[in-house]
Amino acid sequence: MEKQAAVQSLTDTMAKFTAYIGKHLPTDVEKKLAELRAKETKPLAKAIYLSMAENQEAANRLDRPSCQDTGVIQYFVTAGAKFPLLGELAEILEEATREATRTAPLRHNAVETFVEKNTGTNTGTKVPWLDWDIVPDDDGVTIDVYMAGGGCTLPGSATVLMPGQGYEGVAEFVFNVISSRGVNACPPLLVGVGVSTAVETAARLSKKALMRPVGSHNADPNAAKMETLLEDGLNEMGIGPQGLTGTNSVMGVNIESSARHPSTIGVAVNTGCWAHRRGRIRINADLSYEILTHEGAKL
């Protein structure tokens, strides 16, 4: 393929995929919501779960973004160093965002800071937001597209604890964030926790944690144990859908971590709402692709 045609083809794929994830929840999230709905016993909470299911059905039938807040578009790119369009990828993703904004259509959510003007295209300074990981011996690329609305972005918090506060301090921080600010983020939430050295390293990991499937576990046994303890504990609070109380509070807790400085524990929390719109697509060197998050998806 000519380079220009290749760029056009990948832009097209990514625009369609970006629009698609705004309209359909990933399979893991759909399954979890169905499970929580079946377990729910409170009538009001049940009614909310029913509205959610009706909404997803209507979004599918009418081909519309299921929530009006389609967020600032974020792409988490895990790029093979030998991917042929690596150098063009940033521009491709920007153009894909513009196109998806027109065709989906997506809400205009990029406001230039200080100028305080909405660009009307969902693109702007460093937006769409790109996050890069490079894989040495790979000629393909895996991209997570994520739309987080304002509501589920607002609770986001990070801090640096002293080692004396330990993992007990991590648990307390998570609970404080969720109990005080979680209700506005459209529960049941997927909670992403980053444990690291500083605020920015922990924050990035907490967001990456939200890219992991619901129900998956950290490879480290202690971290996995803590995921389960936090999940069960938060569920015991009974926040319920929309904070109206119910049998559960969360879809899960995902922890990602790095080695840390011996004198600090950086911890961050990010929340994904019930309408957790993320999608993962694997693109091969010949630009054929596979959608990994949405069973039976067609672009």
């Binding site: 209507a58 299921s66 609070m237 109380t245």
Partner: protein, 203 residues
Amino acid sequence: MNKKVLTTPIKDEDLEDLRVGDVVYLTGHIVTCRDVAHRRLIELKRELPVDLKGGAIFHAGPIVRKLDDGKFEMVSIGPTTSMRMEKFEREFIEQTGVKLIVGKGGMGPLTEEGCKKHKAVHAIFPGGCAVLAATQVEEIERAEWQDLGMPETLWVNRVKELGPLIISIDTQGNNLIEKNKAEFNAKKGPILEKIYSQVSFIK
């Protein structure tokens, strides 16, 4: 079960018996009104271009499509976090005479006071259910302050049985979400105690 439907213009008596946790639906008009519209009225003292007496506002920034004939189509409209408007809402109720405020999450003591004094209510529409709500909008009749961009424009919607709307602050000033939050906070301590003993990984 009978659906309880409120119709604009809403009168004080329509709201008197409603209590937090009750579910209602709305038929008539509802105007989207969020951060900047509140700021313009209260801080910048600009007159709102719509009459809200006995009316309803929706804390929402929708996706709207402009059609070829110049009309607008409601694509997707769901509530935004109401708490952002807390700072302005009491005065907003007082100045406009609005009766029903729809959003998501709770609001605070100022709104409670405004609801109690001026007989208004705050209700929650399930967040994220934006296509469901859009199918309950019959028509966008007007669009004011379009200079604010799509999310902040005042979209005047004619709706039929918009809901479910869960009353979260009633005319007596009861506050459902604040009560729930107090419950969550009370449970937090004992739950954390159980977790602490199992996560002392630093030895």
